[in-house]
Homo-oligomer: 310 residues x 2
């Protein structure tokens, strides 16, 4: 087991998903869960998150399948777990939120265990940017801090989000959100504007269209662009973005030994792409539970083959 | 000059383009023009198309800049050239047609010179599929036939289009059109359905999100996926898809010596991507007029670097 000192903070949810491919009721979800499961293929992962006393034991068993340290999981009495009910449309690239209950996410942040203070790699999964900043302060030894965000905070908490961006090394966000944050309408130009806000690297997630990286490090500047893994059997896209980020950070914190360069980031994106391609083959973490690190390497070879030009 | 026996049939237009980046009035456009200019970097290209007697001499001078044989260009008396007026929205990924005059495109097909009958590589740029079939019959020695099509024909001329698809080796079409043609909502599944209609290879163009290839040849089956060249200076996206196809077919008919394999198709897509990335840097053919084959190779290296995973 690789010792990674990688920590993720974020949400754990109980999801209900309606899709043209079927329905999943009260399954395990949430950004931190998807991230942690994906990153755990590369080593141990620490988790800081809260659930309510309604959280089913069977979901705890799922955690235990992955290399996720649960010391930072708070099971809060007299509170309820975050719940989300979404419906995918026929083309699976669009979804509508039918119901959302913030529950424990609307309360105090979960406590961070004292022995997590030495975490070197920190992923702040999407939540209120004030919460992300508050959590970050628990990790004074962080060498690499990456955050995710979303349209809601870009619109309603812009100043706080800009404060967060001054404190992170990397930002991961969706394609449309990159335009919303910057007022630009070209992904490369948007990434340049985000560099000016602080991050050394920006990863723009485009779902089925892949991802774009812009890097401005001390060792040079550059771009990377990767397609998604061309998949024919998409059952449930939920968690694709979070497992993409989990695969990326898992690789960077694990095998790459914390090296941040255009080369290590490209490889990280490719591994994130591959993990995400498994995620969407089933509901919740069902598919990720079935695979091993060796499967990831096999699909990585197929993926590289798809984009080899010689 | 490589002898390619590559012929393109399609439209020549006089375009007026409004974009956030500027306005271009009465410039040279049309699918066949963009294709031919792009393919001509790889060898000589034959063109079959018609214009009216309003066609300006200055546009003929532009043709002469490229290696395009004009024996099949009909300048029809008492007719007018196809005209298109489009406006790009702020985000440049959406455009509206403000005015279109079919003019000569609504009349008889242009005659095909007798000495073009030995053409081995045929690209049927987008037009009515009945016209594409009629033109194809002039090339009995064709070894590789590739067609482009569009939403209009998928909706209104489906049976004729299906007849065409039984006669071609390759089909090039837009992402949304692949769903429209097949009723599927996943690009890989849509490509499989299109193989059943006839083509050995299907290229799905996704604009700024790159392209996807599905190949079912005698030597094997496979997929290729490439991002677009990450560009920050997009002036006018008009012609990107046609020059992508022109770069692809130019390479296949030229340097690849007609070899059709997953490997040659991938390289062809990469070169098509690179030519298209130049096209959009200016209006009309302005940017393509400034570059050489050496520029394409240079940018191909940058492109491959962007997607190298090691």
């Amino acid at each position: 087991m690789t010792r990674m000192s990688l920590i993720v903070t974020g949400s754990i949810g109980i999801d209900t998903i309606d899709a043209p491919t079927g329905k999943a009721e009260d399954v395990l979800g949430g950004s931190a869960i998807y991230f942690a499961a994906a990153a755990s293929f590369f080593g141990d992962v620490r988790l800081v998150a809260a659930v309510g006393d309604d959280f089913p034991d069977r979901h705890l068993d799922t955690f235990r399948h992955f290399n996720v340290n649960l010391d930072g999981l708070e099971r809060r009495r007299n509170s309820r777990t975050f719940r989300w009910h979404g419906r995918y449309r026929d083309d699976m690239n669009q979804r509508d939120t039918l119901a959302v209950e913030l529950n424990v996410l609307a309360e105090a942040l979960p406590p961070v265990p004292q022995h997590y203070r030495d975490s070197r790699y920190v992923f702040l999964a999407n939540t209120h940017p004030a919460g992300q900043i508050a959590l970050l302060e628990h990790f004074p030894k962080a060498e690499l801090v990456v955050a995710d965000t979303m349209d809601l905070w870009i619109d309603n908490e812009r100043e706080t989000l800009l404060d967060l961006l001054r404190r992170v090394d990397g930002l991961v966000l969706n394609y449309e959100e990159s335009f919303q944050l910057t007022g630009k309408s070209n992904a490369v130009v948007a990434a340049e504007a985000i560099h000016e806000m602080g991050p050394t690297f920006v990863v723009i997630k485009k779902g089925e269209h892949g991802s774009l990286l812009s890097y401005r490090g001390d060792d040079g500047h550059g771009l990377a662009a990767l397609p998604a893994f061309a998949a024919r059997d998409v059952v449930d896209p939920t968690g694709a973005g979070d497992t993409f980020a989990g695969g990326m950070l898992g690789y960077l914190a694990g095998e790459a030994g914390g090296e941040i360069s255009l080369r290590s980031l490209r490889k990280a994106m490719a591994l994130g792409t591959v993990v995400a391609s498994y995620t969407i083959e089933s509901f919740s973490l069902d598919r990720l539970k079935q695979i091993t690190r060796g499967d990831l390497d096999g699909r990585l070879r197929s993926f590289c083959e798809m984009l080899t030009v010689d």
